[in-house]
Amino acid sequence: MERFQKVAVPIAAILIFVALWEALVWVNGWPDYVMASPSDLPAAYSRFWELFLTGSWQTLWRTVAGLTLAVVAGTGLGMIMGFSRIARDGLYPLLVGFNAVPKATLVPVLALLFIGQHDFNTVMMAFLISFFPIAVSVGIGLSTLEPEYRDILRSLGASKVTIFRKIALPKTLPEFFGALKVSVTLAFIGTNLVEIISPHGRGLGALFLSGQTNSNYPLMFAVLIALAVLGIILYYAVVALEKIFAGWAERPGG
């Protein structure tokens, strides 16, 4: 029963969303070039399905690679900021400043620095755009860790790294996964930004561009939906990881 609900509710939500979208377009009588409706999309998918498959795969692996980097670097940075007040005071403004810079404007800089290294550029941008939430959440998790928890291991003379691994990390895992869910979506945006702004003919971004040059609006919307679906798939991968590693945190009721 609960199993059933877990699958049925998201699907129902998505169906309702699609129905609302179709209705909105229909009621307003919007032409494709304002907003394509869901019923326009199957044609686009069936016509270009091969491109969608290869494009999705290319977008996906770069995103996952960038995200993995972001997890590693974000966790490292978060640890530094969580454990050291000075690092926190010094790094935070820099990171915030860096993050307030629209990444779209950095794509050309990156592209010029690493000319032709498309894979590298794309992964790099996915990484750059998505590590911040992870660093923030790990940093906050550490700096607000209840001393009672920390003391359990401190009293054994455990090193900071051990305390992090055994206490802080598991204790902040729910927040970490929350941040990861945000980062997943950001990493996608990073990958696509490169594919669209510094196009190299690969990934779903390229498909979007070709829809654009040909004024094929249903194709463009189809790409956006494909991106959303990829995002949802990655999200459920994160949820699966969360169930394994942080299932304890879910409170019953409510």
Partner: protein, 322 residues
């Protein structure tokens, strides 16, 4: 307009395809010189993010008039049959589509492209027409190494010699290259229109529903546009001044050069000198559609009359630029 007041002002917001750069100066000059007001039009000019941004703005009726590439318009109308938009006045009789290369890298004629690296942003308007250019010049695509680049990196890569040539709009790429320190003598501009490509370029487009209801206003608008270009050719300085007022961080020298290039290469062609600004030649249009078929697969049978209508053009003498 309210019935009975034949002389009421008509609002005609105008959607440009691009930012406020030199080639947009004539429209501001027309505005500042009161040419629109003379036609009882209230015009506000908005910048855009490409033809694909401007076309839907006009198709939805939010902007009755706009400025966009007619080749993009053809595709738009093919994909969205019945959309109420069409071109009514050709401005770039010769499209600015070009291959820009560097002589020092061995690019001077189309034949030189073989065996060299060509930088091309996939969504670039000029790149979209490159196959026509290649076919007309007997170039085999297999002989050319195409490097996909982004717009922002296109000219820097050429400046650094990472590619031997790029596709782009003549006035954009050339001037960007100069800004990056490439000697003017070193730049070779291969305007596609000079090498067998018959396509037309940017035109004034109109929402046909609006035009049907306000034919005089539309004609008045085109009259003012022609007047703006005429005035700009006579006094480019004044045109640029009008532009700088809207884009204060712009570099006046550069924009003047850009405007001049547009006038010389794209607007004031032999055909325009003879027939005035804005009209098209039906045979050339047919040829252009034929050429387009080689780079774009039409969903519906192309029909030139859907893409361009000359019924709103003012008399030829109102369109003479000199």
């Amino acid at each position: 307009t309210v019935a009975g007041t034949a002389h009421a002002q008509t609002d005609m917001p105008f959607a440009l395809d691009w930012k406020f750069e030199g080639p947009a100066a004539p429209y501001f000059l027309a505005l500042d010189n009161g040419l629109f007001a003379d036609q009882e039009l209230t015009v506000e000019i908005s910048e855009g993010a490409g033809s694909l941004d401007a076309i839907p703005k006009v198709a939805t009726g939010a902007y009755p008039v706009g400025f966009a590439d007619i080749n993009s318009l053809m595709r738009f109308l093919d994909q969205n049959p019945g959309a109420p938009v069409t071109a009514i006045m050709m401005i770039y009789d010769k499209p600015p589509f070009a291959v820009v290369g560097r002589k020092s890298l061995g690019v001077e004629t189309p034949a030189d492209l073989a065996g060299k690296v060509l930088g091309a942003p996939p969504p670039d308007g000029a790149w979209a027409q490159f196959p026509i250019f290649a076919a007309e010049n007997d170039l085999s695509m297999e002989d050319i190494t195409v490097e996909p680049v982004g717009f922002p990196t296109r000219e820097p890569m050429l400046a650094e010699g990472q590619v031997a040539s790029v596709t782009g709009f003549s006035f954009s790429s050339t001037l960007n290259l100069k800004r990056l320190g490439v000697e003017e003598d070193d730049i070779s501009v291969l305007l596609m229109a000079d090498h067998g490509v018959e396509l037309y370029g940017n035109a004034i487009i109109v929402n046909t529903d609006f035009a049907g209801e306000n034919p005089e206003a539309v004609t008045g608008f085109l009259t003012a546009i022609a007047g703006g270009w005429k005035a700009a050719m006579e006094d480019p300085e004044a045109a640029i001044e009008a532009l700088i007022e809207r884009n204060p961080a712009a570099n006046a020298e550069l924009e003047k050069e850009r405007l001049q290039m547009a006038i010389d290469d794209n607007v004031y062609t032999d055909f325009v000198a003879e027939n005035g600004l804005g009209g098209i030649d039906d045979d050339r249009m047919t040829a252009a559609i034929e050429q387009t078929k080689s780079v774009y697969e039409f969903q519906n049978e192309p029909d030139a009359s859907l893409y361009f209508s000359s019924e709103y053009l003012p008399d030829a003498d109102a369109r003479m630029l000199k």
